[in-house]
Amino acid sequence: MKVLVLSTLCTALALPAMAQDFSAQLKARQGQFRILAINLGIIGDMAKGEAEYDAEAAQSAADSIVAVSMINQGPLWPQGSSEMDLEGTRAKAEIWDNLPDVLSKWDDLGTQAANLQQVAATGQEALGPALGTLGGTCKACHDEYRAPQN
């Protein structure tokens, strides 16, 4: 009995210090980046000249990128889900120290995605520059807020 009480007490005391289970949030935010990467790849291969230009495919890829950029990020990034708190994420704790900056960088992605959506069906030569500026918004955030790979 004593052991049981003691172990229950220990569990209760330990709980607040233990990391919360944010595995769903991690999967969701990493999944959205994966959707971005797959669609950027479709357009990128056309921009590089490695795939034949296909206006319809380019347009739907750009539409998907815009769709991801419209996902409200708040619920995906709870306090306590940085790389300091959890395994399996490279999100730096600085994100939560600079939320307005992070959100403005996410907005920049939205702006550039919308630009890509405008030009995607207009011809192969429009893809490269639009993708370049969009890539700039990825780097701008990863520069400060993503930890290096282990």
Binding site: K48, G135, G136, K139
Partner: protein, 294 residues
């Protein structure tokens, strides 16, 4: 016993003195630079390829502010924290009152005009492979940048790394003009070699270091621990990187990997610089990396 100690002390003094003399900071031959006139436009390209601004602009500088080389960025390493100094043309706070020869001694040999060693956080062990004309061009370009009166911050290093004289020994071991790739077969490979081994100083992060902090050139571009202590820097020699030449050039232009992940950390600054260079330069880097496996 006392006599033994005295003779030991004498030996230490003599060898230590000889060591200090042997390892004292070297300077470049001024006659090499006396006749050179720098071309600021060519120097701008060299400046971009060498990534000077990426370390010397103020922390968090954006846009035009990146042309102001006021220094202040902190680089945390296992030896302590280095602070990039002000290298703007300001005569007191920056390097405006230096001569071209002093600048060349700093960039190629890591020697300050005041006669002390610079720490190799400043990648002079790569820049030593620059041609004197390239140094003159770089110097001419630096004069065109805005002045900043922000004072340089001192480094924050623990003992014994705080003793600059010890760097003389380090330089004897690791400061060499030799290239890793001998006799590049084409002009493109020669340019790629210059971009990777000298200007872009890629080896400084992508090559592992010895216990004494020098590059282990036998494991050239094999990947290494991040000097900041955070994670790993990937290997980019052919054994580690199977990207096509197009993939490598495209990454240097856009920051996108072949599976459309994007560059992060310090590589963002590197990609920004390479994106501003001509496409032939990015192709040259790709050709060089591919040729390392041959």
């Amino acid at each position: 016993m006392l006599r033994k100690l005295t003779s030991l002390a004498a030996i230490v003094l003599v060898t230590g003195g000889a060591g200090l003399w042997l390892t004292k900071p070297r300077t470049v031959a001024s006659e090499v630079y006396a006749g050179l006139t720098g071309d600021a436009a060519r120097g701008a390209t060299t400046f971009t390829a060498a990534g000077c601004a990426s370390c010397h602009y103020a922390p968090d500088a954006e846009g035009e502010a990146k042309r102001v080389l006021s220094g202040g960025q902190a680089f945390k390493t296992e030896f302590g924290t280095f602070h990039a100094p002000n290298i703007s043309p300001h005569p007191q706070a920056g390097i405006g009152d230096w001569s071209l020869t002093e600048f060349a001694s700093a960039v190629r040999l890591g020697t300050a005009p005041e006669g002390h060693h610079y720490y190799p956080a400043f990648p002079y062990s790569s820049y030593i492979r620059l041609e004197p004309q390239q140094i003159a061009d770089l110097w001419a370009h630096l004069q065109t940048l805005p002045e900043s009166d922000v004072p340089s911050k001192p480094h924050d290093l623990g003992f014994p790394f705080s003793i600059r004289a010890s760097l003389g020994g380090w330089k004897m071991l690791y400061l060499s003009e030799d290239w890793v790739m001998d006799d590049p077969a084409t002009h493109e490979l020669a340019r790629g070699r210059e971009l990777v081994e000298a200007l872009g100083h890629c080896g400084e992060c992508h090559t592992p270091r010895t216990a004494l902090g020098g590059l282990d050139r036998k494991r050239w571009l094999d990947g290494a621990a991040n000097p900041s202590g955070e994670g790993e820097i990937p290997g980019i020699a052919p054994a580690h990187l199977d990207w096509s030449s197009t993939d490598i050039a495209y990454y240097l232009e856009t920051g996108f990997t072949p599976d459309f992940d994007s560059a992060g950390g310090h590589m963002v600054a590197v990609v920004d610089n390479f994106a501003a260079l001509p496409a032939e330069d990015r192709a040259a880097v790709a050709a060089y990396l591919k040729a390392l496996g041959e």
